[in-house]
């Protein structure tokens, strides 16, 4: 069996399922838009001070909405034991992880990119730049890695959504800091060299947690 084909098969089925249910994407898009809109009504968007908190609002909206969506997404997996069918199929656990990660990555990336023009319009700032796209890609990668890992880890826990939030938020906090600071510097028209260290940090963080998740994934699937 071609592993890449199997990974795509898992991710493709997840995305088709999502297109039919429209739960996860709508949750992320709806919730992030709502959070951004609430802030617009409560603060004066034309001051410099306000523009400094826009990155924090943007990334908080993405992370909170992704957490809600993750909980829902993996509830679907356990509803009729569909995830057990994956575990019982003759594919390695790594492939399952890659497949689930890929679909999560696509969903969170769509949401992060979709929220950029909304933020730009609502807060009257120009953030439609290639640097933001790069930032959205590498941070979405980290969010998907940790999200997939912790969501599957909490699958067998009774209070799974509480458990997911408890472990997911502390783990993604460094990514949140990096995202906020990078975005702030890009808004202030700083050079790429100013955010270079954060970019390397995020890449390193992504790589380390991707490897750890891959190594521990087999273990967390055991009871």
């Amino acid at each position: 069996m071609n592993p890449f084909k199997t990974i795509w098969n898992i991710a493709k089925r997840d995305l088709i399922l999502e297109l039919r249910r429209k739960e996860v994407l709508f949750t992320i898009l709806g919730f992030s838009t709502l959070v951004l809109s609430i802030f617009v009504f409560s603060i004066d968007v034309n001051t410099k001070e306000t523009q400094k908190i826009v990155p924090a609002i943007y990334w908080s909206a993405i992370i909170f909405s992704f957490t809600i969506a993750l909980g829902r997404r993996f509830s679907i997996e356990i509803e009729n034991g569909a995830f057990e069918a994956l575990i019982l199929s003759p594919i390695s656990k790594d492939i399952i992880f890659f497949g689930k990660f890929t679909s999560n990555f696509i969903l969170v990336l769509i949401s992060s990119v979709f929220a950029l023009p909304i933020t730009s319009i609502l807060f009257n700032i120009n953030i439609l730049k290639i640097e933001y796209l790069l930032l959205a890609i590498i941070i979405s990668f980290g969010l998907s890695t940790l999200g997939t890992f912790f969501a599957i880890m909490s699958i067998k826990v009774r209070a799974r959504e509480v458990m997911l939030s408890l472990v997911f938020f502390p783990a993604v906090t460094p990514l949140l800091f990096a995202g906020v600071d990078c975005m702030d510097k890009i808004i202030q028209n700083n050079n790429f060299s100013d955010i270079q260290s954060w970019i390397f940090f995020v890449l390193f963080y992504d790589a380390i947690f991707f490897l750890i998740s891959l190594l521990l994934f087999d273990h967390i699937l055991q009871e």
Partner: protein
């Protein structure tokens, strides 16, 4: 040379399982040969489903050893999975996919080459044509069970593990399942089936494992020797 029939396809020895202080399985041992039909029976809560889930590696055990296709469950289960068909208590299917989409997904995961032909064969055998294109969420429990049972036969397995495959089925669907299990048995496929409906399966069973209060109280091939 060992007779093919005597080769142990499944060996369970001194298996123990507890959830907290509650003993679920206690000293379970049995063997299953190639082409055998083994029925695990007993009342609700006797530990049948837990035993099936442990053998399927969905649940860990505290003590004991399990060998499937003469390889250890803990070490090399990944290798032998492609030879096994699983039908668990729940459907293991996505509600928003049709029966056909669920079966196709399973075919992809098992790397079945002649996907269309194989699917048609299974659909014909289990008489699923009418319900195949409906989403799982619009089907009755019995119809879902029919597709879930068919899924266990999809990869032409050498061993089929079924947990309560007859629950929720109407008489006609039960007959189809019964007929297909007999057909598979004739082809030399081994079948491990858990059901509390002893009368339905006892005539074709090569071995009956009767469970009560977490233990195997009786392992027999003869209906007359069954102790309840």
């Amino acid at each position: 040379m060992k007779n093919q029939k005597n080769i142990n396809l499944l060996e369970v020895s001194q298996l123990y399982k507890s959830f907290g202080n509650k003993k679920i399985l206690e000293n379970i041992s049995f063997e299953m040969g190639k082409g055998e039909f083994v029925l695990i029976t007993g009342s609700n809560g006797s530990g049948k489903t837990t035993l099936i889930r442990i053998i399927s590696s969905l649940c860990s055990h505290d003590e004991g050893e399990i060998k499937i296709f003469q390889t250890s469950l803990k070490k090399e289960f990944e290798i032998v999975k492609s030879k096994i068909g699983f039908g668990m208590h729940n459907s293991m299917m996505y509600d928003d996919f049709t029966g056909k989409e669920n079966l196709e997904y399973s075919s992809d995961l098992y790397g079945i080459t002649n996907k269309k032909g194989n699917l048609k064969n299974i659909v014909d055998r289990f008489e699923l044509t009418e319900i195949l294109d409906k989403k799982i969420k619009y089907l009755s429990q019995g119809q879902i069970k029919r597709i879930a049972n068919a899924k266990a036969f999809l990869n032409n397995p050498k061993l089929i593990i079924l947990d309560e495959p007859d629950s929720g089925l109407d008489k006609q669907s039960q007959e189809i399942l019964f007929r297909e299990i007999i057909e598979e048995k004739k082809l030399g496929t081994s079948i491990l089936l858990a059901s509390h409906r002893l009368e339905k399966w006892i005539d074709i069973a090569d071995q009956v494992l009767f469970m009560k209060n977490s233990s195997l109280i009786n392992v027999t091939k003869d209906r007359k020797n069954l102790i309840f």
